[in-house]
Amino acid sequence: MATPVRPGRPPQIRIRRQLPLSPWLFAAPGLLVVGAFVLYPFVSTLVNSFTDRRTLLPGHFVGLANFRELLHDDMFWTGLRNSTLYILGVVPALVVLPLLLALLVRKDIPGITFFRSAFYTPVVASIVVVGLIWVWLLDERGLVNSLLESIGIGRIGFLSDQWLLLLSAMAVTVWKGLGYYMIIYLAALANVPRELHEAAAVDGAGPVRRFLSVTVPAVRSTMVLVAALSSVNAFKVFSEVYLMAGPTGGPAGEDTTLVMLVQRTGTGLTGRVGYASALSVVVFVVTVALMLLVLRADRREDA
């Protein structure tokens, strides 16, 4: 019992005064809900991915036919490209910008709690509302274009060009995520020993040097975590693009993401449940792989 314990790790002793069942009782409500309403439907999705099931018609086992069809489906590759681009566009911004924002709101100057809360507002608002707001802002006759025109730049078709649409959707994702990740960084920064900064300041390091040589290494594992969370979410992006580019995914469907494709092929009365399930499985496998990749990177940091 005298063994010193690190916080957050179970001690070396076994706590015996607990019924063998009680851990399961504790976990039961959560396991039941997650099992019945997430994992069970997902397992059935997995089963369906090997069938040609339609919304209203029972399927037959077709082996890997759905997965083979994927390889020849242009839309699948478009979706994969867009979801991957989404990671590349969104993740760096969401790793860096919220960190800078956290540094900005960190100091307890008057009114700072107001600013912190205000910066969190976009996280609180529903994505449907956020979508409506931004579609209205970026409309050809919306606020942003009115402003651009009055300063002489002219109107820009944010919502009609394939690439601008994707960029706009990314901007909305970043806008909505800033506050969320800012909070994560704030928590991490609270653990950075003040002395490190002071020592660096005494050494005559400027703010940029201090940021790079003190702050960044100190919150490195948080950055990895943010990268993991944001890349998984970016790969599964649906709402932002769906709301801004429309259900068919922008001009010629060029802005379709993978999850949008799942939704489009699998839903409705004529939905191809089997094929959409195969797509879901691909999305799932890639997200798990992404998560593992980042977690491995994290483990290496820890060591």
Partner: protein, 428 residues
């Protein structure tokens, strides 16, 4: 109580098995015989009608319950968005309401899954009450039978902005009547306004191809055919418009709402609509309303396009006589007529369109639009093929966009669209 891997596997199998058994088209419950006593509780589902017509439907239900004591109708209404998702979830889970508001393309998959009652068998005696074309509207190629009562029809004129026509040096009193005139006027409008004012705001849809005179499907209804020379011609002309900005540059991402808004704000010179829109113009764009021009839909076939709504009876209903009676009640001449007077739609019952309400002018724009539409409806066609699913619409839309952007030739784009649609058709 650690769970062994084998126990887990067994649990998974136990969970999955019942699932793969469900969703089959077994014929449990419900009968096709509608001749019994009209009684019992039924549910009636409409599509986005509550917001504006609550009192009408409340009255309708009360009248029916009064006429048939012992019945109780529960009216539910679903929002416009997600209607097909809602229907498919209900259909898959066996919770479809007894009487459902559908359109022909929604009824087709339900009929194929055995969920829609064949009205030729159960309600054939009512057939003569409806316009022939409307009754046939809910037949599904490849199946015998009719799967919904025809309900309201809708068609509308083409609105145009006289001020924009004047500005472009076009004669506002002589709007385009043919496709040739339309395309010529549109090009002139774009030229004179330096590409700032487009004439059309939407890419061609399957209905546009139909109206242009393109054959949409082969005679047997087994394959699509809109990639013929006529189809390619239409798409090629649209491409010219798009390049000249006579078709709005944002048309590729337009929705009916966004193009309606563009017309309101004077960015687009013409917009298809219905008598319903006049009210909207009056309220939201008074200056446009002063300059509104109204002309007929352009068509090369002599038949304008109409939209058909239907009322379907769930084949699994426990109260077939009541469900059929109610579906017929909602769509009978009297009730359709009173609904038509509430909102700018048109009844599908025989003879109703000869009512003075649809034939006599009283000098207002509303009446003018209504009378003209009623007249054109007598020969109107629902160009949307019943089997043209949401996924096929998306495929066509995307291929059309590629052609307009110049990424593919119009011929290649339509070939691809037809190919994709045929593949989806064969999987049904």
């Amino acid at each position: 109580m650690p769970m062994s891997r084998r126990a887990l596997a067994a649990a998974v199998v136990a969970l999955v098995l019942p699932l793969s058994a469900c969703g089959s088209g077994g014929d449990d419950g419900g009968s096709t015989d509608a001749s019994g006593k009209v009684e019992g509780d039924i549910t009636f589902q409409t599509w986005n009608l509550r917001a504006n017509f609550k009192s009408y439907f409340d009255g309708l239900v009360a009248d029916f319950e009064k006429k048939y004591p012992g019945t109780h109708v529960k009216w539910i209404d679903q929002p416009a968005e997600g209607y097909a998702d809602k229907l498919s979830a209900d259909a898959a889970a066996g919770t479809l309401p007894d009487v459902v508001n559908v359109s022909p393309d929604l009824v087709a998959p339900l009929a194929k899954a055995g969920l829609a009652l064949d009205l030729d068998k159960s309600a054939g005696k009512y057939r003569s009450e409806y316009l022939d074309g409307a009754w046939a509207g809910h037949q599904v190629p490849g199946m015998s039978g009719t799967y919904a009562f025809p309900w309201y029809l809708n068609t509308g004129p083409l609105f145009y902005d006289k001020a924009l026509f004047d500005k472009a040096g076009l004669d506002a009193a002589k709007p385009p009547k043919t496709y040739d005139e339309l395309f010529a006027d549109a090009l002139q409008m774009a030229r004179k306004s330096d590409g700032k004012v487009a004439t059309l705001a939407n890419v061609p849809t399957i209905e546009d191809f139909g109206r242009y005179g393109v054959t949409l499907m082969n005679k047997q209804g087994t394959a699509f055919a809109f990639n013929d020379a006529k189809g390619v011609e239409l798409l090629t002309r649209y491409k010219e418009l798009y390049d000249a900005k006579a078709l709005d540059p944002q048309a590729l991402t337009a929705t009916p709402e966004s193009s309606g808004r563009k017309f309101l704000t004077g960015a687009v010179a013409m917009n298809p609509g219905s008598a319903l829109d006049l009210d909207n113009f009056k309220k939201n764009a008074p200056s446009l309303y002063k300059n509104i021009g109204i002309t007929d839909q352009i068509t090369s076939t002599g038949h304008v396009n109409m939209y058909v709504m239907g009322v379907m009876v769930n084949s699994r209903t426990k109260h077939t006589p009541a469900a059929v009676a109610f579906a017929h009640f909602v769509t009978d001449a009297q009730n359709q007529m009173s609904f038509a007077k509430k909102v700018a739609i048109f009844p599908s019952t025989a003879g109703s369109l000869d009512d003075p309400y649809f034939t006599e002018q009283d000098g207002t724009d509303e009446t003018r639009v209504r009378v003209a539409a009623a007249k054109s409806l007598k020969s109107a066609v629902n160009y949307t093929p019943v089997l043209f699913s949401e996924q096929m619409k998306t495929a066509l839309r995307n291929e059309v966009a590629k052609a307009l952007q110049g990424k593919e030739s119009p011929k290649k784009a339509l070939d691809n669209a037809v190919g994709a649609a045929d593949r989806l058709l064969q999987q049904d």
